[in-house]
């Protein structure tokens, strides 16, 4: 019987550190984010991009971290499940 290979901890740790640093910076400089939102309300519309960019950056690093995190704890997707199989079966 083949055992599933153990995932490497390196991506979990590196994405975890990157994610933690991002959250640290967000709260360390939270006054700036509040100020940029206020300036957007006062017609400096270019700052509207700040939340959008921040959301994308966080989703990349924190998204990778959470995926690797659960995987390193052994929570993985089933490999045999395919959706298309059941569709074809009905059509046949």
């Amino acid at each position: 019987m083949s055992h599933p290979s153990k995932p490497s901890l390196l991506p979990t740790i590196s994405f975890g550190i990157a994610s933690a640093v991002l959250y640290f910076l967000l709260f360390q400089y939270s006054d700036h984010f509040v100020e940029w939102a206020e300036r957007t309300r006062q017609d400096e519309k270019i700052f509207f991009l700040v939340p959008v960019v921040v959301a994308f950056v966080f989703s990349y690093f924190h998204g990778h971290f959470t995926g690797h995190f659960w995987e390193s704890l052994g929570l993985r997707a089933a490999k045999t499940k395919t959706v298309t199989k059941s569709v074809k079966k009905t059509q046949a």
Partner: protein, 359 residues
Amino acid sequence: MENLFIDINVYTALALFVVGFIGGMVSGFIGSGGAFVLTPAMMTLGVPGIVAVASNICHKFPKSLVGAMKRHKYGQVDVKLGVIMGIFAELGVLVGKHVMTDIKHEFGEVGTSLYVSVVFVVVLAIVGGFVFRDAMRMFKQEQAGGGVEAPHEVPKLARWVQSVHIPGTMMYFNALKAKVSILFIVPLGFATGMLAATIAVGGFIGVPAMIYVLGAPALMASATELVIAFVMGAGGTMLYSLDGVVDIRLAMIILAGSLFGIQIGAIGTTYVKDSVVKFVMGLIMIIVLFSRFFYVPGYLSQLGLIETMQESTITTLKLLGDATLVIALAVGGITIIVALIKGMATHRREQLLLAGGEA
């Protein structure tokens, strides 16, 4: 300078993280539906309504992006269907917001709340009831078949939709394994957006529409909904951000929890049958529907349509309504975890049997 953003303490952050986590799990599993509790939760913490809505949307689009990419790996996402429905959903959001603004001007804040409640009750009663009944039918069928998954049957309405050929409008969709006229997709996407603008969860229309009107399997419909949510959420975030009302700190705290949750929800879908996705969705919709019964008397009283109620009674009823929302989310979360554990155990048994047979 008007300050719309609250001070965030450890307790606020922790509460939002936990709600985000469970909400993310539900979204990863049924495509949406995890965010309905976040707006009232933030408002309870003192966040102004507009900031709560904007920050909620801002956490939804990166969450949906991560969930959609995860489920795309499992072959469950139809990107083309999601993007097309998402674009028309965006239009629906704009019109939905406009309708809400008109109602607000005409009947005030209470009129808007009553409208939202009525939409909640009508949509969730009809669609939720239908989804739940279908899940029960599939469970019975699977029980009678010795636990074998009920094959995906294209519903009668979807068979008709797939049979209609309108030249110049036909498109092939992977999720349907068939060509469908885009003229059917447009109103479905639009309705999804309208609902999203009204009750914050467009997926309660989008997912059942893809299953019952277009003929997609529940697993693919719920995964494709994440693409729709991403398109809608990205557009919505930009609109709200232009008004400077997105509190990125709040949004990122919720995202911190919800990205942990959405991974579990997405992985969970690979261990369960179509019927389980429908069951969880139907169950959440029905519990959420009951939450609105607690709000409606207060709105009717404030509009003078029924005898005036005491303010304390209205507040108590609202609290009960909010509690029901939390219960809906918790029940959804627990059901997903139970389904995941059961599914993993069954999968492990099957793998062992398979290995034993090969040896």
